[in-house]
């Protein structure tokens, strides 16, 4: 091998090994940071791992949102109308968090079946349904039309309830 070729070989070897390291690190980082999605049915069936970051989602069951009066701790139930999942969260819920609407929660499933959420994601506008939730509900046997009418009914009931409670707001 001529010195020039030798130099070229080193350069190429260097580049290849750099690329290999980069790809390896990327895949490693990817593996440890992906969050799988589970529906309440799957969690009830024991498919989801405990104490690992996962995502779950469904509809917020009507009348299950309870707040601790002294702090920002809140608990609510997420359902796909077959199985329920109890979720606890500490902090401020998004603007569009509503009973009877779809949400996605990110956090860890505890051994006692409680889901401790670090993040609660709701929709960006009123026509939006998280796609994972839509799929989970379809898997549970409900068509999109079904749960949209359900959501509308719940929203109406919630509105009526709020009106009767605090009509003096404005």
């Amino acid at each position: 091998m001529t010195p020039k070729r030798k130099q070229k070989l080193f350069v190429i070897l260097g580049l290849v090994s750099l690329a290999a390291i980069a790809v390896g690190l990327t895949l490693y980082a990817l593996r440890s940071n992906i969050n799988l999605f589970f529906s309440p049915i799957e969690i009830a069936a024991g498919d989801a791992p405990y104490e690992r970051q996962i995502r779950a989602g469904g509809m917020v069951r009507e009348g299950t949102v309870s707040r601790n009066p002294d702090s920002l701790d809140v608990e609510f139930t997420v359902t796909d109308y077959v199985e329920d999942l109890r979720v606890s969260y500490s902090g401020i819920l998004p603007d569009l968090f509503r009973e009877g609407q779809g949400v996605v929660v990110v956090g860890q499933l505890q051994q006692n079946g409680l889901f401790r959420a670090d993040q609660v994601l709701a929709r960006h506008d009123e026509n939006y349904m998280p796609p994972e939730v839509a799929d989970a509900l379809e898997a549970a046997g409900y068509s999109p039309a079904d749960f949209q009418t359900k959501a509308a009914k719940v929203a109406k009931r919630v509105e009526e309830r709020e009106e009767s409670e605090g009509a003096s707001q404005y």
Binding site: A22, T26, L72, S90, I92
Partner: protein, 669 residues
């Protein structure tokens, strides 16, 4: 009568624009390959005509919005008679159809200006550039006319009023952010067209690079501002105080920015040294393809986010086909033609050439990692392998160290010479800057922060390592001038552009490092009279009121803020608004901005019995993020207005050109 016809006029103008774009593509490209001046001469008038008719269509849609013509579906879905006029004006691009129309308008606009400011280019080059741009226009106009017609009517049952614009979009951010971002995205089509034209014509010389550079810089500057504005908007509009979420849509804009940055640097080498030619072309193609990929991700409905307006699969499919054709065809042309334009020059492994090569490799690696994190979940989903999401930790774990490594070389680049640099001279000029950067970076967190933080220190060292050698370089460059001021004046605008751009990177790095690590956030339950202590400030809720806005009702809290040890206090008034037309709630953040810190108060939820969940944040140096973006864009613009690029850049014989660039020249940029 005439007013009622406005949408039809717009629709018709689009069809004419499509026909003109087809002529703009076919005639000049055929003319260039057949060497027929008559056919090539079609290029400029067709480009102007197409721009005119797309502009008419765009004006027609805007008029429909301003006149509250709710018989137009698009207007009925996204506007409301109560909306202030400036939001009606910008609501045009606050939805899928309108934003694609804006996109096309800008595409035609870039084409028009490329045609206008290319008098000194060889005729066949102009013909090819305009022809390729025309082809892209054809794709997007077809997309609008077939899948996303903004002029669709709902007749005869015209609604009384519109459904209103999404409240999140009723903001100055909507007026500024999308046009800037699109100008950047679309602007890369010009350098893409230049690249394809060079491949088709088999000519790529220093003059070519000189023409392509200003267009690239300008597009890049727009994209930079667009991204910075988007981050700023998300910061105050979403009410969480986050400024970058590694959301796929944000990544979609970051990807072409990264390769665009690589392209700018690679073009510099192509111009000055005549090397990296095929690489430059490949980057130009990649950058524009990533812009299209961004459009696909945002517009196809495969992603759901605040940006995703439409969920019509036919649209996604159309853009995917468009993307496939663009990438496939341009890579095919590249594979067939690139060997003809490539040219070898030698350089030492310690030289500016090599450092720019490293910069390019790093940027490409970063692009690939971001791309993988963005597309991987989509691929798995498409292949039915499960639903996953890739969280910010993945991106941070890769992006941050890779950027730091890149910045180490970034400090060296502007100091090093083309072709080869004497290692000893380099060390001699830089050791002091290196030591100073280390010292400042390590000591500063003690002074500013509550506690020393390694990440902040790394960020500061990196930023100083970019800035200090820069000053040293300016110092050296002006040493031999009669006076310092005369020396400074002699430096070219392109040189100042580079320095300003690099300074911007350093400023952004400081902002990111400090705000990510010294940010303080507290979520508290507050009723009247309650107070919270955050970072040496006392926040006291003094009042809870409600008010009525133009199209919303709002709960408003009055918060009195007092800095510890200071007498003066000021008030902040966050609001929780309910937009009437959509019944949609929204958080209106109260901000107290400052160069060194922002105070941020947002109302969370009504907890009943007159108390609210409040989000109180202290954000040090957050403004530096966007300030850095502005500086970078300013650098790009400075380089564009450098006289060197406006001067008649005459093309020479490629061989002769290669011979002259092979000689080392005095380098300024």
């Amino acid at each position: 009568m005439q007013i009622q016809m406005i949408p039809e006029i717009g629709h018709f103008a689009l069809v004419i624009a499509l026909l003109l774009a087809m002529a703009q593509t076919l005639m000049p490209l055929a003319g260039a390959s057949l060497r027929r001046p008559l056919l090539m001469a079609y290029a400029r008038p067709m480009a102007s005509g197409q721009f005119l008719f797309v502009a008419i269509a765009y004006a027609a849609l805007t008029a429909s919005y301003m006149l509250d013509d709710f018989s137009v579906l698009n207007v009925a879905n996204n506007s409301n008679s109560m909306l202030p006029w400036y939001y009606k004006f910008s609501a045009v691009w606050g939805n899928h159809e309108g934003s694609v129309l804006l996109w096309s308008l800008m595409l035609a606009g870039w084409g028009f200006f490329a045609a206008r400011y290319s008098r000194e280019l060889p005729r066949d080059m102009v013909a090819r550039v305009i022809g390729v741009l025309g082809a892209v226009c054809v794709g997007f106009l077809l997309f609008i006319l077939i899948t996303s017609n903004p002029f669709e009517r709902i007749l005869p049952n015209v609604p009384q009023d519109g459904a209103d614009l999404n409240p999140l979009l009723q903001d100055i951010g909507l007026i500024l952010h999308p046009p800037m971002l699109y100008m950047g995205y679309v602007g890369f089509s010009v350098v893409f067209a230049f690249a394809i034209a060079a491949l088709l014509g088999g000519r790529l010389d220093a003059a070519w690079a000189r023409w392509a550079r200003p267009w690239t810089n300008l597009a890049w500057a727009f994209l930079t501002i667009g991204i910075a504005l988007g981050s700023w908007w998300a910061y105050y509009e979403l009410g969480w105080g986050g400024w970058w979420f590694w959301d796929p849509v944000e990544n979609a804009s970051l990807l072409p920015w990264l390769t665009g940055t690589a392209l700018m640097h690679s073009l510099a080498v192509t111009e000055k040294r005549g090397s990296f030619k095929s690489w430059t072309l490949l980057l130009a193609i990649t950058t524009f393809s990533l812009s299209l990929l961004g459009t696909f991700l945002v517009r196809s409905g495969v992603l759901t986010s605040v940006h995703a307006f439409a969920n019509d699969p036919s649209r996604g499919f159309f853009i995917l086909v468009l993307l496939g054709i663009t990438v496939g065809l341009s890579l095919l042309i590249f594979a067939l033609r690139a060997p003809r334009v490539s040219h070898k020059t030698s350089f030492n492994w310690l030289s500016r050439d090599a450092l720019l090569l490293i910069n390019n490799i790093m940027l490409v690696i970063i692009t690939v990692t971001v791309l993988m994190g963005t597309v991987y979940p989509l691929l798995l989903d498409a292949l039915d392998l499960g639903k996953i999401s890739v969280g910010p930790p993945y991106f941070n774990a890769l992006f941050v160290p890779l950027t730091v490594i890149m910045c180490i070389f970034m400090g060296l680049g502007p100091i090093a010479r083309w072709k080869q640099t004497d290692a000893r001279a380099l060390v001699k000029r830089l050791w002091l800057a290196g030591v100073a950067a280390l010292a400042i970076g390590i000591i500063m967190p003690f002074i500013f922060g509550n506690e020393w933080n390694a990440w902040v220190a790394i960020g500061l060292v990196t930023a100083m390592w970019i800035v200090l050698p820069m000053f040293r370089d300016i110092f050296e460059k002006t040493r031999h001038a009669p006076t310092r001021l005369a020396g400074l004046k002699k430096l070219s605008l392109a040189y100042w552009g580079m320095q300003l751009g690099h300074l911007g990177v350093a400023v952004t790095i400081i902002g990111v490092a400090v705000v990510s690590n010294y940010n303080i956030e507290r979520n508290v339950r507050m009723s009247i009279g309650d107070s919270a202590q955050v970072a040496g400030y006392t926040f006291t809720m003094t009042e809870l009121t409600s008010r009525r806005g133009a199209n919303f009702l709002a709960d408003r809290a009055v918060i009195e803020v007092q800095r510890d040890g200071s007498r003066r206090s000021f008030t902040m008034t966050p609001e929780k608004r309910l937009y009437i037309a959509r019944g949609m709630p929204m958080t209106q953040v109260a901000l107290r901005p400052g160069l060194f810190r922002d105070l941020y108060v947002a109302m969370g939820e009504d907890l009943g019995d007159n108390s609210w969940a409040m989000r109180v944040q202290y954000k040090p140096f957050v403004r530096w993020l966007w300030l850095g973006g502005l500086l970078m864009a300013g650098g790009g613009v400075l380089a564009v207005i450098d006289r060197r690029y406006r001067r008649l850049a005459t093309s020479r014989d490629p061989e002769e050109e290669a011979a002259t660039v092979a000689k080392p020249r005095e380098a300024t940029a």
